[in-house]
Amino acid sequence: MNRFEIKNSMLVNEFDSYIREHPEVAQNIPDNALVVMLLEEDVEFSQWNRRNAKRMAEKDQSIVFINIKKLKPVLSRIEELAIETAN
């Protein structure tokens, strides 16, 4: 994967998690639309994905851009752990 594809995978992961937590948001996406990730702080990446969208959308398929404006820092979800050493 190139730099843009890696970034896209990471953003799609975040979007998927968001939809799993807030499935009602998916109702705003037109049926059978092509969903495309954009990142406000990375213009080059967003341009690359806009070009991909144009190329890969099927005839009459709606394109929906998800413009991520800001991301929280990546944090572990582990709430509690124990470290055990085997002698």
Binding site: M1, E5, N8, S9, V12, N13, F15, D16, S17, I19, R20, P23, E24, A26, Q27, I29, P30, D31, N32, A33, L34, V35, V36, M37, N49, N52, A53, M56, V64
Partner: protein, 130 residues
């Protein structure tokens, strides 16, 4: 119209309104959505979600590759028949089923993460005929 018939008619209208209202609520509780997310060069991920009262109750997550001007399924996670499983497809559309011993929500998370991370490897393997 005598009094008994009149009140019977009003009761009928009230019950009709009540049932219409219940049916409307029931309809609003259930929703379906299907969309595809662009993964990369000639690759996309299809999502089909069915929700009830804002909770996902059924899902399909499928990697598709553009091959010979057609979108072909490559890997499909779903929870049809009451259990979550993976179907792996070859170029001819022949599929191999693998059961997932995972609760529903974990299967959905795995589906998303696996395809987002490994779509390129799946694509290469699919195009090689593996």
């Amino acid at each position: 119209m005598n009094d008994a018939n009149f009140f019977g008619f009003i009761l009928f209208l009230d019950l009709f309104d009540l049932f219409s209202y219940i049916i409307q609520i029931k309809r609003n509780d259930l929703a379906e959505k299907e969309y595809v997310i662009l993964s990369g060069e000639c690759a996309r991920k299809r999502h089909f979600l069915k929700t009830e009262k804002g909770k996902i109750i059924y899902f399909v997550v499928q990697l598709e590759i553009e091959f010979e001007n057609e979108w072909k399924p490559v890997v499909r996670y779903d929870c049809a028949h009451g259990f979550s499983h993976i179907d792996r497809y070859d170029k001819k559309g022949k599929k191999r089923k693998e059961l997932l011993d995972l609760p529903f929500d974990e299967a959905l998370t795995l589906a998303d993460e696996d395809i987002n991370t490994n779509w390129e490897d799946y694509k290469i393997k699919f195009l090689r005929g593996g």
